[in-house]
């Protein structure tokens, strides 16, 4: 019954990505180098999203919806620079960006998205 749900890299708390019925649900991704600025962190996040989507048989042109959390709205412009270089028309997803404090003080950006295969 639960074979219809595929979980990628599950640990005791969460899975990095979950696949069900042709839809991929990605966990919130954060940058690998938290010393980087919001642009550098976003670039790292987007590379991780690319890799996860590829493992799920998808790519960035098939993202439905995205929520971007920034630790401070002042980081949004730098996040958007990286996003704008990565996302291409006409494949932009529905998106919202909100300010929220994140897992650690130096985590500036976290991105969660849903895509189809």
């Amino acid at each position: 019954m639960s074979n219809d749900i595929i979980r990628y890299d599950p640990d005791k708390r969460l899975s990095d990505m979950v696949e069900y019925n042709g839809t991929l649900y990605l966990a919130g991704q954060v940058g690998e180098d938290l010393a980087a600025d919001a642009k550098g962190q976003t670039e790292s996040i987007l590379r991780q999203i690319d890799k996860l989507l590829a493992r799920g048989g998808s790519d960035k042109s098939k993202i439905l919806s995205t929520v971007i959390f920034v630790a401070d709205m002042r980081h949004k412009a730098r996040m958007d620079e990286a996003w704008g270089a990565w996302m291409t028309a006409p494949n932009a997803p529905a998106r919202a960006t909100v300010e929220a404090r994140l897992g650690s003080a130096d985590t500036l950006v976290e991105i969660m998205c849903v895509a189809i295969k």
Binding site: K12, R13, L14, V18, Y20, A27, G28, G103, E110, M112
Partner: protein, 116 residues
């Protein structure tokens, strides 16, 4: 044409909405807000169990979750309750962020998506 099923609906929101085999729950908070983030989370997860059951799903079929905490310092208490609750073989995708919630004593709010 509409094949959307709504449970515990009022004029503002539904606690559970089902479409195409996927269950979307509203953000769930605890009624007893005197407790810690752990006890609030335990109450929330019990409510989520009940809603998922109502929708023909269960915690083993969670897809994605967003956890909102009022302060990142209460995340460990939330996580304790979370890890005791989830099916260890079937954890969902998850993000946890800090944000102000409905009332000053609301420490945790959890929103989940599950397969039926």
């Amino acid at each position: 044409m509409s094949n959307i099923i709504r449970h515990q609906s009022d004029a503002r929101l539904s606690r559970a909405v089902i479409h195409n085999g996927v269950v979307y729950l509203a953000g769930i908070t605890a009624d007893n807000r005197g407790g810690t983030s752990k006890t609030q989370t335990e109450e929330i997860l019990a409510k989520i169990d009940a809603l998922l059951k109502l929708a023909g799903s269960s915690k083993s079929r969670l897809l994605s979750t967003v956890v909102y905490v009022a302060d990142m310092r209460v995340k460990p208490g939330m996580d304790e309750a979370w890890m005791a609750w989830i099916d260890p073989k079937n954890p969902p995708a998850r993000a946890t962020v800090e944000t102000r919630l409905g009332t000053a004593d609301t420490l945790v709010e959890i929103m989940v998506t599950a397969a039926q």
